[in-house]
């Protein structure tokens, strides 16, 4: 008993001294404070220009990551969305039963109790509301269309686990509609990015996926809208992209998970 206590004390003292020595070394070598106070070139450009409305290259958005994704690198993000769209199309091609007669759809009765079902029912609308908030405020706080859509998809996953795939299809979430929402959203994102090009043809300089005005281009999406109830900061096209991306991601992932759940419920029956 005595021996084990002294052993414990030695262990504790060794551990604490190792931590203290490491902290001391880190502090002396200057590794702990490296680069906190100074920004490198590209970071300085982004951090100082994007949120500042007085600068000519501003995006009028406070969330710099989302602004870079949709404004500075808008074309890149569009193709990322397209890649995801193709992945969804591929999963539909592999797993879809659209048009076939005998689609096995489970009800989840075998493996969930009433407690799981009722709690799921109560939690799902809260997830929907929170995901909408994440998507709408994507240009102001960390978040955005993809993040909001991904959070929303938790709701269909819970419903599929608790109630089975029949519940979701009976509420109108069938494959064709989800794919249509997905395709429409991706198309609209491209149309919003293409509008500056139409301006280019008729008026003057503009760039593909341009958001607000630039020093050599007058084209701009409205980024600060005055209304009787107050100013609404939309950060130009970033808010539109975020909302469209929210629907695209939510519909696409719901579709993929719906098809996978159906496959899982079918089991080994052919």
């Amino acid at each position: 008993m005595r021996r084990s206590k002294s052993f414990l004390a030695i262990c504790l003292i060794t551990a604490i001294s190792i931590v203290l020595i490491l902290a001391f070394l880190l502090n002396i070598s200057g590794l702990t404070t490296y680069g906190v106070n100074e920004l490198t070139g590209l970071a300085k450009l982004f951090v100082l220009n994007i949120p500042d409305p007085t600068k000519p290259w501003s995006s009028h958005a406070f969330e710099i990551v989302t602004a870079i994704l949709w404004d500075q690198r808008g074309l890149d993000t569009y193709f990322e969305t397209s890649v995801l769209f193709l992945a969804i199309v591929a999963s539909v091609a592999l797993l879809s039963y659209y048009g076939r007669r005998h689609v096995h759809e489970g009800t989840g009765d075998g493996y969930t109790t009433m407690i799981v079902k009722v709690v799921t029912k109560l939690v799902v609308p809260i997830i929907a509301v929170v995901s909408a908030s994440i998507a709408i405020h994507g240009h102001l706080t960390p978040g955005g269309g993809f993040q909001g859509g991904s959070v929303f998809v938790v709701a269909p996953v819970l419903m599929l686990l608790a109630y089975g795939s029949r519940f979701l299809s009976s509420r109108g979430f069938n494959e064709l509609r989800l794919l249509a929402i997905r395709a429409l959203s991706v198309t609209l994102i491209f149309v919003v990015g293409l509008l500056p090009v139409l301006y280019l043809l008729t008026h003057g300089t503009a760039y593909l996926f341009q958001n607000t005005y630039k020093p050599d281009s007058a084209f701009t999406y409205p980024y600060l809208i005055p209304t009787p109830i107050g100013m609404i900061l939309t950060a130009g096209s970033i808010m539109i992209y975020n909302i469209l991306e929210f629907f695209a991601v939510a519909a696409g992932f719901t579709l993929a998970i719906l098809l996978l759940t159906r496959e899982f419920e079918r089991g080994d029956k052919k």
């Binding site: 009433m114 407690i115 609308p125 809260i126 929907a128 509301v129 929170v130 908030s133 209304t227």
Partner: protein, 167 residues
């Protein structure tokens, strides 16, 4: 009519969730939250609002009274008894899984009673049988193993209050 009132109240509750999550209380945000709350409430109302005709203010009063009583008196009492077990030197505990019957019919009553049992320290609902109308509860300090005694000791108080709210 009652259905519409229920949807509006549910939509306003969802609007409060939205506002609390967002953390901004400007006029624009409040209008947006009510719009989104009503849309979400309209979509999910069919599954969540089961008996719109049963809506009344006395049920809300009973719900709030139960919430206050649950989180102050009942929780404190349960925590105190479990704390005494944890801190005592007597480790001769004999936990058991007992069957606790319930009389409620509304799914909300059944689920909220089950969650009340689970949330109080010392008792956990491990399974339930909807056809036999019984929970299976893991009980840290069982005083008796018969159904009636378990019902009286574990779920009578919860069911008495929640029946007034949901049934």
């Amino acid at each position: 009519m009652r259905k519409a009132v229920s949807i509006i109240i549910y939509g306003l509750l969802m609007a409060i969730v939205y506002l609390v999550y967002t953390g901004v209380f400007s006029l624009v945000e409040i209008i947006l939250s009510i719009a989104i709350g009503l849309i979400v409430a309209y979509i999910f109302a069919g599954d969540i609002i089961t008996y719109p005709s049963k809506f009344s203010l006395s049920r809300i009063y009973h719900a709030i009274a139960y919430l206050i009583k649950y989180f102050t008196v009942i929780e404190a009492r349960a925590h105190w008894s479990v704390m005494k077990i944890i801190l005592s030197r007597n480790t001769s505990l004999k936990p058991a899984i007992v069957r606790v019957p319930f009389k409620a019919n509304n799914p909300y009553t059944i689920v909220f009673v089950a969650n009340s049992i689970t949330n109080t320290p010392g008792t956990v609902v491990v399974d339930m049988d909807e056809n036999k109308k019984a929970y299976y509860v893991h009980w840290l300090t069982p005083t008796s193993l018969t159904d009636d005694d378990a019902y009286r000791n574990i779920s009578l108080e919860f069911e008495k209050h929640l029946t007034k709210v949901f049934e």
